[in-house]
Amino acid sequence: MNFGFNDEQTEIKSTARQFLENRFKPSVVRELAEAGRYDEGLWKEICELGWAGIALDDEHGGQGLGMVELVILCEELGYACAPTPFLANACAGLALEWAGSDAQQEGLAGIAAGDARGAVGSPEAFIDAEGAAVPIVFDEDGARILDPDSMSFERIDAIDQTRGYSKPSSVDGEPLPGDVDAASQRICVAAAAELVGIGQRALDMAVEYAKDRHQFERPIGAYQAVSHNCAGMLYDVEEARSLTYYAAWAADAQPESLPMAAAMAKARASDAAWEITKASLQVHAGIGFTWEHDLHFLLKRARAGAQLFGTAAQHRDRVAGLAGMGSGN
C-alpha cells in the first residue's frame, strides 16, 4: 500500500508548479482574463512539454501515462488559475480514447500535439470550443462529435473570464460508439483535480493574508474566528484531494471502483473549491471583494467548475444509488 506519488510523478508536479508560476504570474492571468483570450505562445510551450497528450496512448501520439499524471497537471493548472484550453482538450482526448471508434481516434494525434484541439461540453455550455477541431457534446443520449464547419458556437459572457464558454447552435453529430461512461467519469476526475488546485490556491492566499493583515494590534490569523475558518478550508481541500487522487488511481488500476470514486471526487471538489474560495474572500474581507484583487478569478472559476460536468448534487445522487439507496424499492 502506498498512497503517494512516485519519483516521476513528483518530478512532473514540481516541474509544472515552477513552469506555471513563471509563465502565469498573476499579472499575466489578469491580462489574459480581462482580454478574454489565451496566449498561443504559452499553449505551444505547454504542448511542447508533452502535457496535452499526457494520458493518451503513445500509439495516438500521447505520453502513455495515466490519469494520476493528468490529475497532477490539472491540479497545478488550477492552482495557477492558468487561462489555457488544456482541460477541454484533455477531456476531448479522454472521450475519444475511451469511447471513440478507430476512425474517430485519428483525431487524437492533433489533440495530443495540441495543434488540432478538442473541446467538450453539454448542449448548454462548452468550454474552449472556439477554434477547436474536435468539439464533443455529452448529453443523456451519449456523446457525439460535432462538425465545426456546419454549426457554430455562440460565446457566453460568463462570470469566469479565465476560460472560454460557449453554446453550440446544434448538437447533432457523429456518436461515439464506445464506453461513454468510462470517458465521462475520467473527465469528471480531471475537472475535480482542477478544482482541488483552485481551492489550494485560495487557501494559501487566505493564510498568507491572515498572517500579514493586522487589526487590533495583532495579525487577524491569531483570532480563532479567522484561523478556524482557515482550518476548515484545509479539511475541505484535503478531503477533495484524497477523493480525487483515489479516483485517478482507480481509473488507472481498479476501474470497477471508478463510477463511485469519480462521482465522489467531482461532488466533493465542486463543493470544496466553492467553499474555500468563498471563505478566502471572507478572510480577505473588503479587499477580496475588489476587482483589483486576484481572488475573484479563483472564486468565479470555482463556481463555473462546480456547474460543469454535473453538479455536486447530481453526483451525490449517483453516489447514493451506488451506496445502495433505493435498492429494493
Partner: protein, 379 residues
C-alpha cells in the same frame, strides 16, 4: 501510487482475519457491567495468548512488532469483524508505550507484562475540573515525603478508574516553576486508602468515566517516569501515541453503521427520497475521505518517519461524520427514535461526546491552524 495490499500485506491481513474469525468472542453479554467487563478481560487474554494484544509493541517487550501498516490492517480488521476493544486499552496504547519510551529497565520489567495480560488495568489521570484543554495548568499537588511523594487533588474523565490498578498521573511537583516545567509523571497505585473513585454519570445514563480524589495518596520514587519536572514531555508522548491507522479503523466503523443506516432508510421506503440521498451520499463521502486521508498520512509517515498532525484532521472528520450519521438515523426513526433504549438513539446521544473527548474540535482546529497552516498563536 498503489492502494492495493502487497502480497506480504495480504498474507498478514489473511492471518489476522483467520485468527479473528476463529477466536471471535461473540456478542457482548447483556446485563450488568461486571459481566461486560469480564468479557473484555477474557477477550484481551485470548488476544494475548496468541500474541495479538501488543500488536504494536516491539518484540523485546512481548509485543508482535508489527509495522505501522500492519497495525493499521490489524485495527481495520478488528473493526470489520466487530470484536470488542481489549480491556486494558489505555495501558496498551498509552501506558506501555510511555514506559517503553521514558521508563528505566526495572520499570519496564515491573509494568509491561501485566499490561499485556490484563492482570493490571491502567487509567489516565490528566484532566482536572479546572484543567481541560489547558492541561498544563493542572493543580493536583505532589509533595516530597521521604522516598516518595504525597498526592492531593482531583482528576476527572478517568475511564476505567474503578477497575484500574495503575493511574498515569500528571501532578504539579514544583509550584514555583513555569506551568509546563513543574509537572511530574507518576504511576500511582489505585489500590490504597488515599484514592477515592466516584462514577461520573453521563447524558446516556451510563458511567464510562469517573472522578478520582487523592487525599495524601502515596507514590514511591521508583514510580516516577522520565524524571521529576519532566512530566509535560512524558505526557505529550502519551498523547502523541495515538494508534496508528486510527482513521482507517474509524472509517471501517462508520462504514458499517452507514450500511445499517442505508438498510433502515430503504426499509422505511425513503431510499429514493432526494434529501435522504443527498445526506447519505455526504456521509459516504466523508467516510471514504477519512479512510483515504489516513492512508495518505500513513504513506507520509512511512516515507518521512514523522507523524504529522493528520491525526487531528482525522479525529475531527470522524467526530463530525459520526454525529451527522447518528442524527440522520434518529431522524429516519421519527417518533420511534424517542425510545431511550433504541440503539440509534443511544449512539446519537453518545456521539455528542465525540467532538469533545480526546481534544475538542476547537482545540484540534487550533492545532491545525498553528502547526499545519503556520498561523500565529493566539497566546
Amino acid at each position: 501510487m498503489d492502494l492495493t495490499l502487497t502480497d506480504e500485506e495480504e498474507t498478514f491481513r489473511d492471518e489476522v482475519r483467520t485468527w479473528l474469525s476463529e477466536n471471535h468472542p461473540g456478542d457482548e453479554p447483556d446485563g450488568d457491567d461486571t459481566a461486560k467487563w469480564e468479557f473484555s478481560v477474557d477477550w484481551q487474554r485470548k488476544m494475548h495468548a496468541d500474541g495479538w494484544a501488543g500488536v504494536a509493541w516491539p518484540k523485546e517487550y512481548g509485543g508482535r512488532g508489527a509495522s505501522l501498516l500492519e497495525q493499521t490492517i490489524f485495527y481495520s480488521e478488528m473493526a470489520e469483524a466487530n470484536v470488542p476493544r481489549p480491556a486494558n486499552i489505555l495501558g496498551l496504547v498509552m501506558g506501555g508505550p510511555v514506559v517503553m519510551a521514558h521508563g528505566d529497565e526495572s520499570q519496564r520489567e515491573r509494568f509491561l507484562e501485566p499490561i499485556l495480560s490484563a492482570e493490571e488495568i491502567w487509567c489516565q489521570g490528566f484532566s482536572e475540573p479546572e484543567s481541560g484543554s489547558d492541561l498544563a495548568s493542572l493543580k493536583t499537588k505532589a509533595v516530597k515525603d521521604g522516598d516518595g511523594w504525597r498526592i492531593n487533588g482531583q482528576k476527572v474523565w478517568t475511564t476505567l478508574g474503578h477497575v484500574a490498578k495503575w493511574c498515569m498521573l500528571v501532578a504539579r511537583s514544583d509550584f514555583d516553576a513555569p506551568k509546563h516545567k513543574g509537572l511530574t509523571y507518576f504511576i500511582l497505585d489505585m489500590e490504597q486508602d488515599g484514592v477515592e473513585v466516584r462514577p461520573l454519570v453521563q447524558i446516556t445514563g451510563e458511567a464510562e468515566f469517573n472522578e478520582v480524589f487523592f487525599e495524601d495518596a502515596y507514590v514511591p520514587d521508583e514510580n516516577v517516569i522520565g524524571g521529576v519536572g519532566n512530566g509535560w514531555n512524558v505526557a505529550i508522548t502519551t498523547l502523541m501515541n495515538e494508534r496508528a491507522g486510527l482513521g482507517a479503523s474509524a472509517a471501517v466503523g462508520l462504514s458499517q453503521d452507514l450500511h445499517a443506516l442505508v438498510e433502515l432508510i430503504n426499509e422505511r421506503g425513503l431510499g429514493n427520497d432526494p434529501l435522504m440521498r443527498q445526506k447519505v451520499a455526504k456521509l459516504r463521502m466523508s467516510t471514504e475521505a477519512l479512510r483515504l486521508g489516513s492512508m495518505r498520512s500513513l504513506t507520509q509517515v512511512l516515507k518521512t518517519g514523522i507523524p504529522g498532525p493528520e491525526g487531528s484532521i482525522a479525529k475531527l472528520q470522524w467526530s463530525s461524520t459520526n454525529q451527522a450519521l447518528t442524527e440522520l438515523a434518529t431522524d429516519v426513526l421519527g417518533a420511534e427514535g424517542l425510545e431511550k433504549d433504541d440503539e440509534w438513539t443511544y449512539k446519537m446521544l453518545r456521539s455528542r461526546a465525540n467532538s469533545i473527548e480526546g481534544g475538542t474540535t476547537e482545540v484540534l482546529k487550533n492545532i491545525v491552524a498553528e502547526r499545519v497552516l503556520g498561523l500565529p498563536k493566539l497566546r
